[in-house]
Subunit: 383 residues, 2 copies
């Protein structure tokens, strides 16, 4: 590293030494902030008597799941796709809920195989076709699968639309000897990122009420409903306080991202979680006043949400934009000098889940020291 860029880094990125020499671009996890976030969520769960079932779609990493387990209050993990669950299972995670339906030929074989190696596997359904397929596969395998009814609480992506549909589907599950009715799920995905806490709480209330109504209707028919699962980082406290949910499917809280940093996650507006996940990138070209080219672009950051946010390495007011697939454009505020070639810029990730899905490893730092490299085993496991 040339002396000019070293001086810049020491002044602006807030760290020096080992970690500042890393090859870029890199996905860097601040372990202190990450562990702080895990503890903060456990505290909320314990205060309101709910458990955590963290959603591994966010991190897809065995090491992250094990850190969550160690932090406490865990009743299992969620996965959005079967491949994610297989990756976690290979790493020793043994209680998994698949939060979207899995019911097709080759997937059924994989599901039975996964069931055989886990302590507890549950899946959701929202259609009788799925119940039929699962019952046939697990009956043939001589195994019993835990099944939850997925309830549409507003996003219209998955879930039975009415209370009557939920009851009918639950009865159908309960009638299958190879299936065990384990409860209900409702995820209010469209509510999570409402910026204002009270508006979000108002929008989340009908979802919890719908789930409570279905739970009570199931119990009135003497159908079991031990689990009412849902929630996300946006509604974690709201749903914890509702008294309806038995566990929270929170994911992003562990890392945070630009999207959630723009949401008030506590009633009084104090920050509950810290931004823990950054992409570190270096300046690789500088020929124009007002901006430089960096080495992290569309293949390093999710592009479905806001742009990355500059956390360090550039003067206040600098903005980061994509500059093609492999490069970024750091736009400096008026009058600010261009950082030198090789200077590091630290960017808070824009939307954490699809950003992490681009990377094979998390570089975990403790202050200036690279403490661990964690694999993202479920990266790309979309099927």
């Amino acid at each position: 590293m040339n002396p000019e860029s070293r001086a810049w880094n020491e002044k602006l990125i807030g760290v020096e030494g080992g970690i500042a020499r890393l090859d870029t671009p890199a996905l860097v996890l601040d372990l202190d902030a990450f562990e702080y976030n895990l503890r903060a969520m456990v505290a909320i769960a314990r205060a309101h008597g709910v458990a955590l079932r963290p959603h591994a779609k966010t991190h897809k990493s065995v090491a992250v799941a094990k850190a969550q387990l160690e932090a406490g209050a865990i009743v299992g993990f969620c996965c959005a796709k079967l491949g994610e669950a297989e990756a976690l299972a290979r790493g020793g995670i043994d209680r998994i809920l698949l939060t979207s339906p899995v019911f097709f030929a080759s997937k059924l074989e994989r599901l039975v195989a996964l069931h055989a190696r886990l302590r507890e596997l549950s899946v959701v359904v929202d259609d009788p076709v799925q119940v039929e397929a699962l019952a046939a596969a697990f009956s043939a395998a001589g195994r019993r699968l835990r099944v939850l009814v997925d309830v549409d609480v507003g996003s219209h992506r998955f879930g039975v639309p009415t209370v009557a549909d939920a009851l009918a589907l639950a009865r159908r599950i309960a009638a299958e000897p190879a299936l065990e009715l384990a409860g209900i799920q409702g995820y209010a995905g469209t509510v999570q990122h409402i910026p204002d806490y009270r508006e979000r709480a108002a929008a989340a209330a009908p979802a919890a009420a719908r789930l409570a109504e279905i739970r009570d209707a199931l119990r009135a028919e003497h159908l079991p409903c031990p689990i009412v699962t849902g929630a996300g980082t946006g509604t974690h406290e709201i749903d914890a306080k509702s008294g309806v949910f038995t566990d929270l499917q929170v994911g992003s809280y562990a890392f945070m991202d630009v999207e959630y940093l723009d949401c008030a996650l506590t009633d009084d507006g104090t920050a509950r979680f810290r931004p823990a996940l950054e992409v570190w990138t270096r300046v690789v070209s500088r020929h124009h006043p007002g901006f430089v080219t960096t080495d992290a672009g569309i293949k390093c950051f999710a592009t479905d949400g806001p742009p990355p946010r500059v956390a360090a390495g550039a003067p206040e007011g600098a903005r980061y934009r994509m500059f093609g697939d492999q490069f970024g454009r750091l736009e400096l505020p008026p009058g600010a000098p261009n950082p030198p070639l090789g200077a590091i810029v630290r960017c808070i990730v824009p939307h954490c889940d699809p950003t992490i899905n681009l990377w094979d490893h998390l570089l975990c730092r403790r202050g200036e020291t690279l403490e661990a490299i964690w694999a993202i085993e479920g990266r790309g496991a979309v099927a």
Copy 2:
């Protein structure tokens, strides 16, 4: 697969049998269309006396590179990042041009190691700092590196901005015993996707003229300029005809995508290349009139450009949208029935490069038969 979805697939996706039973979502390459595209580009190159130096940032795959080699007219491959080049080198690709500067400490060690295993390695520079770093590293290693001057032809992302800067940098390279001046590069990235052929040709002309001017100025100083490299799929024919370029850095032509399908790539508007790359996804939930939920979302498709385009599996007029990280929303035209659970929908990829970077494998089909599975070895190699 249930009979209803099998009937739907046979009617609408255009294939049945083996390939229609594949687990979804999947990235599927139509080998007939792919090979047609390779032949079409070779024909253009040969007709105009230029070579091809395909850009592997698009595919990051040894098998794809080898198919391009076999099709002919190849003088080497381009890589945007060192990690991509390392992945191709491990697979036996032995002539590589790094099309963006590589000049930092740990990267220099890797670059020297890569140089030792390749028949030919070249890199571009746009700053004296880079020349100095490369000269020091290769001098210390007792090796000689081929270096090209990168010229800014309009995108302002990389490249020396003026003819005088280009000459000064070339002189500096030529003065270093450990470096060999191999020519110049200019990539008109902002021009590639202008929809109209003639407008694109007019926009590309100044870039070629700038490169010709620099080439002539180098020769007037008796500095070598054997290579003038650049171009993309959008300007492939325009740049081939220009008489300036010695080789074309084309990438997307092998697969095509929604972005390039919307550009006229020939003067008379006929299609030169065929869409060869699709994501196959299945319907996983259907509770609402007018749309269904499918199993491919933001983690399966690049989101920096247009949405995926439905190629088959849904009635004319159906549109595909992201429905979160892991799911899609297939919107049916008014009055069309919802496809059944399990029905396959085939989507042309939106922007091919960052879409491929999400996947570990290409499933290669010949008609209805899965003929090969090709690894995407350079996936995620962003550093």
